[in-house]
């Protein structure tokens, strides 16, 4: 009698252990391909990113305040000088062409993201769009072809000197490292731009069908593209005098 008392208890225990093991295996199997990294680590990075973006906002605001005060002084002291005033006007015009002004207007937002890893095609841990950055280059060229007047990728304004280059494991745009998902904003005629991109055998179809990239296009009534925030400096080029 004494012996039999323990058997149901052990049965229950064995059941529990079986359950435990199966749960454990289940968790291990359902994880992503590649190595496993706790989500907490990613959350930490996300937090860091948020803080950096807030810091950037603050510095940008400080810069705008400084510029506003400088402009105030300039205007106060040049209101009677016609030459200085016309120079000021010309500078504004050049700044607009150089991409050093925040602009707004109707246009299109395109997002490009890497393929979702699947059973058959788990990927090799590298980003497709980063390795094939020439697709981004081509996309930007198509946007220009469609008459886009201002373009940005992940906040980087496309100006005359903008490069899209693979530097190590990063794709640098305006010498600033960028990573997917890529958000490309373009101001121009929304219908023309969308049709140019989505034409059969066009850039978007190539991206989707040949590279399994996720591409979304949406037309916007009004969107804002921020200015080039890098430092502009010319070390080699000077004005050609005979043209002046």
């Amino acid at each position: 009698m004494k012996n039999k008392g323990g058997i149901p208890v052990i049965g229950v225990l064995a059941l529990l252990i079986g359950l435990l093991i199966s749960v454990q295996i289940g968790t291990a199997e359902s994880s992503d391909v590649g190595g496993l990294i706790p989500v907490a680590k990613a959350a930490g990075l996300e937090q860091e990113l948020k803080e950096l973006r807030a810091e950037k906002e603050t510095i940008m605001q400080e810069y705008l305040d400084l510029e506003a005060r400088l402009k105030e002084i300039e205007e106060q002291n040049s209101s009677e000088d016609a030459l200085m005033q016309s120079m000021g006007g010309e500078i504004e015009k050049y700044k607009m062409s150089a991409g050093i002004v925040d602009v707004k207007g109707p246009g299109v937002i395109v997002t490009v993201d890497d393929p979702i890893p699947t059973e058959e095609n788990p990927g090799d841990g590298y980003s497709t769009i980063m390795l094939r950055y020439d697709l981004l280059l081509s996309l930007v060229n198509k946007l220009k072809d469609a008459g886009a007047e201002a373009i940005s990728i992940n906040g980087q304004r496309i100006i005359t000197s903008t490069e899209i280059s693979l530097a190590g494991d990063n794709v640098n745009i305006n010498a600033v490292p960028t990573a997917p998902p890529y958000t490309i904003k373009a101001i121009g005629n929304p219908d023309t731009i969308e049709s140019t991109l989505t034409i059969r055998y066009g850039i978007v179809e190539t991206m989707r069908n040949n590279y399994a990239l996720r591409v979304d296009i949406s037309q916007e009534k009004e969107l804002t593209i921020s200015r080039y925030s890098g430092v502009i400096k010319f070390r080699y080029a000077v004005l050609a005098d005979d043209d002046e």
């Binding site: 002084i73 002291n77 841990g125």
Partner: protein, 256 residues
Amino acid sequence: MLYLRMTMSRRAADGEMKRSFLLMIVFCFLLSFSAVVLAQTSKGQHLYVSPKVLDDYKITIEGEKKEIENLNTLVSESRKKLEQYEALVAEDKDIGRELKQQLEQDLELYSLASGDVAVKGPGVKVYIDDGQRKLESWETPNNILVHDSDLLLIINDLKASGAEAISINGQRIVDVTAISCSGYTVRINDQFFARPFRIEAIGDGSRMSAALIGPGGYGTELKEWGLIFKVTVADDILIPAYAESHAYKYISPAVN
């Protein structure tokens, strides 16, 4: 292992009932505890993320840091200017001359950046033409022709190696310049050009030519296909102004 130990504990229970009960209670406690822990951890949907997600975060963070660095440079430049002005105002001196000088500097800088004026300086001249070699029977003529994508990549490489102004066949490359193939010609800034293509770029000549014809450079690759690709470093390159007007139909300045 655990199970084995428990069967052993069952045997032990034959002798000492009390001890085994105690042991079982401890086991039960441990088990329920681990079950609770498991239940808690598996509540969230994404328990783990792939290394790629982490890499993407890190790169974006690096990018934001670079942006902050850029902005700080802008801020310190503006602050220096403002202090200079304020000092002049405080001393009640004529600020006009100082301002005029500053305006002239700004005008030069931004006109250079806009592409609306002609510029000169040292740099490189690149000459690209279709290949002249005989095609093998399996090849298509595409293999030895210059395409718009070739020009696009060369221009991109030049920019990445610090080109300050670029032209193709005399057409200034600006922010809105598209390069697109249309049949036998290539359209650049809404004008049509055909082979050969002459690209001129102002900047660090040795750096730019190394990027193009160094190992793995795009020029080297084109040459291997049989195209004609020549780079020469030059001291005095003249690049004309953007021929069209920067007239905007859709964009307007956004005021914050």
